[in-house]
Assembly symmetry: C2
Homo-oligomer: 227 residues x 2
DNA sequence: TAATAAATTTAGATTTGTCTAAAAAATATT
DNA sequence: AATATTTTTTAGACAAATCTAAATTTATTA
């Protein structure tokens, strides 16, 4: 009666996408609402309700009518496995196939659903067990553990303190296009020269380049660690 | 009104699997029967009929009731694109991720349905534009062209003529396990020392190793090119 | 060629994931 | 607290891909 004889349940791509979405929403708010899920998944609340009932019977989440939803530890385990695959593939696409870091998200959304466990482990080894993906997000290891970086929002960085960009707040192509234009990426070292309270824009300096200002919205979308 | 503005139709994984199966069956027989398809796809004849009607409206194949089916040039183009992806991924799995060549088929069956065109082209470049996959099958290029190797069945190789294994007749794990045990793979150089008409077994010699005999069935599953 | 067998198609049902519209519950407002 | 608003759930329907069972067409054979 050993663990070996549990046959691992498998889930549809749709189910996996629900689990992943709940996982990400759960980071901020404790429990996740039907409407939020519907909006993130571009579907209708009624569809979400149906799926939640199904995923509850599969023990991936706990759900009470009208009370919102939380992943069980089983659900979290699955979510981490999917996130792991997503970020490993992103790393592969950028560092081996020479994709731009702003064009890998959609492809990784597909690749993350490939089921072979062996593939993931071999890919991880091939890539040299990277700890962070090209957007600066941590990659869970094979046990679901990931390093947490001591990172703060750029808007909160004190003036004249050098820091390194280590994550972005969203994967939208609009943001990534802007960053590319301004030549800012993961690993970019910068410091704030001035904060303008009028519009909360900030003047930053990258390396030895001349200073320039960025908007509040952009600053809020960047996370840095002090170096 | 240029080609650019055609939006490329996209197909479900199921539809792609039908197209691929028809493509492979079509190689041998001219037209493909409903029952053969059902058997290859592990489904029922009735389901096949339904799908054929659908794929006909999508102009991927020509189909008349009770008359069997053939791919149109559109269908062939799609099939070649899928085969290309399948074989490129197999090459990747074996030559970059260190998979055994007998364990890549199932994973490649999943990876071949990833849609990004850019991914395929970049993968191809990353791999150095390989012409043959780990089983010796030719990889179509981005235009769907593939090299045809001058290959013959091992059973037809003349005695004492050195040849190189370049393809296998099936991907069954049973076959691949046997080949692994006997240390025969793509690229193995060998020659036939003797043919036994009693059971059609043959005695072969690999490199400088002692000769050994293999069964008719095994010999028929191996393709070689003379060197 | 008529009868039989095999292959194929139709008809109707099922499952998965979705939808709309309406009902019910929770939350907010006066 | 009563009413209005928002959120969520139910009920019923739909499309995709499948199934079984029955009907039809083609092929075989006596």
């Amino acid at each position: 009666m050993s663990k070996k004889y549990f046959k691992p349940m498998s889930f549809s791509i749709t189910e996996e996408n629900y689990i992943k979405a709940i996982f990400h929403l759960q980071q901020e708010e404790g429990t996740v609402s039907t409407n939020d899920l519907a909006s993130v998944l571009s579907t209708r609340a009624a569809s979400v309700t149906d799926m939640l009932k199904k995923l509850k019977t599969k023990k991936l989440l706990s759900y009470e009518k009208y009370k919102g939803v939380r992943l069980t530890s089983e659900g979290k385990k699955l979510a981490l496995a999917i996130v792991r695959k997503h970020r490993l593939w992103e790393y592969f696409l950028v560092n081996k196939l020479q994709f731009g870091w702003d064009e890998v998200h959609e492809v990784a959304e597909e690749l993350e659903h490939i089921t072979s466990r062996k593939l993931v482990e071999k890919l991880d080894a091939f890539l040299g067990f990277p700890r962070f993906d090209p957007h600066g997000d941590p990659i869970p290891d094979s046990h679901g553990k990931m390093l947490v970086q001591q990172q703060i929002n750029l808007i909160d960085l004190p003036v004249n303190k050098t820091a390194e960009v280590c994550a972005v707040g969203s994967q939208s192509t609009e943001l990534l296009e802007l960053l590319r234009h301004k030549n800012i990426g993961i690993g970019t070292k910068l410091e704030i020269k001035k904060k303008f309270s009028f519009d909360h824009s900030i003047e930053i300096r990258v390396r030895n380049q001349p200073a320039f200002t960025i908007s509040q919205q952009l600053a809020q979308a960047l996370f840095v660690k002090t170096v």
